[in-house]
């Protein structure tokens, strides 16, 4: 497995001679939207190492309804409760309400909301609305791009709706959580653009945190990632997140790698 990861990194590094797209964060979403009338398809695989190795696959469909409003629909499949199965789905919407442009810089702000469902039993007060819990989330995200560096901050609130029959006796019960993150992305290559077919290469570093306002328990993860953009249309992400401070008992995605492919279809909707 480790050899595979290493090989993938080398492959991606070798592939990328040039690039630009430094706010397409791997573990969070930026405030920027997709272009209007466009579609996107993602396939994400998460490998979770907590007490044993587990896998989750997330097919995702993205649509920009207009220049300010976009939606994602996700499905979650995993082997976390034994057999590999469909465990739930999620609906995510983002509305961009601020857009200030300059030459090679911009500021964007957006509000987002998420509704999720999951069949999984709950063992932790941690809330992960991408597969592990049923619930709702709302928040705000601000992204600033300064030439080759893109910075983004997200603050959100999550509420779990997991019903009694998903609870496990004697285990903590999820209620609500504050989540926050700081993300940075840097364009490494290309230094000079020639055409759309040059592969783009970006590096990301994200800090992801959650706090339960009731119990005060929180954790902080670091998440570095690499990204390649091919033909200005196809995106490949490889990231790893690990906990550096705090903990919430039984949290799911403590040490996790992520591999994703995304395909974009611009201006295909009427």
């Amino acid at each position: 497995m480790r050899f595979f990861l290493f090989a993938a990194v080398v492959f991606l590094l070798g592939l990328s001679r040039h690039g630009k797209a430094q706010e397409l964060y791997v573990f969070t979403e930026p405030a920027s939207n997709m272009a209007a009338k466009s579609l996107g398809v993602r396939l994400t695989n998460e490998g979770i190492f907590s007490g044993g190795k587990m896998n989750r696959t997330i097919p995702e469909f993205m649509v920009s309804l207009n220049k300010n409003l976009m939606a994602h629909v996700q499905g979650f499949f995993s082997d976390m409760d034994g057999k590999y199965r469909l465990e739930g789905g999620s609906l995510y919407g983002k509305y961009r309400f601020l857009s200030v442009d300059g030459n090679q810089k911009h500021l964007r702000a957006a509000v987002f909301g998420r509704l999720s469902t999951s069949k999984r039993p709950v063992y932790s007060e941690d809330i992960n609305l991408e597969g592990d819990n049923s619930g709702a989330q709302g928040g705000i995200v601000v992204t600033q791009l300064l030439h080759k560096l893109a910075l983004s901050a997200t603050v959100g609130y999550s509420k779990a709706f997991d019903t009694d029959d998903h609870r496990v006796a004697g285990m903590p019960v999820p209620n609500h959580l504050l989540n926050y993150s700081l993300s940075s992305g840097y364009l490494l290559l290309p230094v000079v653009y020639k055409n759309y077919n040059q592969p783009n290469f970006n590096v990301y570093f994200e800090v992801l945190g959650k706090t339960n306002p009731e119990t005060g328990r929180s954790y902080l993860d670091l998440a570095p990632a690499l990204q390649v953009i091919l033909n200005s249309r196809t995106r490949i992400d490889l990231g790893y997140r690990f906990q550096v401070a705090g903990d919430i008992d039984g949290r799911y995605n403590k040490n996790m790698y992520l591999l994703r492919a995304e395909f974009n279809f611009f201006n295909v909707l009427k």
């Binding site: 939207n33 272009a35 209007a36 611009f266 201006n267």
Partner: protein, 177 residues
């Protein structure tokens, strides 16, 4: 006198059936662009306009050179709409206009292919040949540049991009040549 002037403007606006393509090319600098994916999305959006023949990007300067089809009316506002649809905004738009004995009246108004232009630095003259003109209206320059220009010109027509031409409320593009 006023009636005569309206009559002349009307004749310029709606008279004459000879339609020759006078807008041939435009250079659009797009603000807020940060990635080739964004550039590609913007280009695809622009290409969906039926009066555009070709889009050539300069990815390092975030500039798109648009060439227009002959025999089709160019709607400058639609160019702006397509850029904002992609999530970005126009920083500068310069159009190449091929004038053919085009009269600019004493207030700087002229009509090209049925579109009314107001020149802020030309009046009482006849224009001929290819001239590159910069569009100064709202959303065709940065918002700070627009505010500055609006304070300088002190004109409602400029603020709204519309004005009364021959008794009709008309879209007016402000140009600097």
């Amino acid at each position: 006198m006023k009636t005569i002037r309206f009559f002349i403007l009307f004749t310029i606006l709606f008279g004459g059936n000879t339609f020759a393509q006078q807008l041939s090319k435009a250079e659009v600098q797009v603000n807020g662009l940060t990635c080739s994916m964004c550039s590609r999305a913007t280009e695809t959006s622009l290409k969906s306009l039926d009066f555009i023949d070709a889009v050539t990007p300069d990815l390092n300067r975030n500039v798109f050179i648009l060439t227009f089809k002959t025999g089709q009316l160019v709607d400058i506002d639609q160019i702006k709409d397509k850029v904002t649809d992609a999530g970005f905004s126009i920083g500068e738009l310069s159009a190449t206009i091929n004038f053919d004995q085009t009269k600019v009246n004493e207030t700087g108004l002229a009509v090209v292919d049925g579109t009314v232009f107001k020149f802020i630095n030309a009046k009482n003259q006849v224009l001929n040949g290819a001239v590159t003109a910069k569009v100064l209206d709202k959303d065709f320059i940065s918002s700070s540049a627009f505010k500055k220009k609006a304070a300088e010109l002190k004109s409602d027509t400029y603020l709204n991009g519309r004005g009364n031409v021959g008794g009709k409320d008309t879209r007016i593009f402000h140009l600097s040549i």
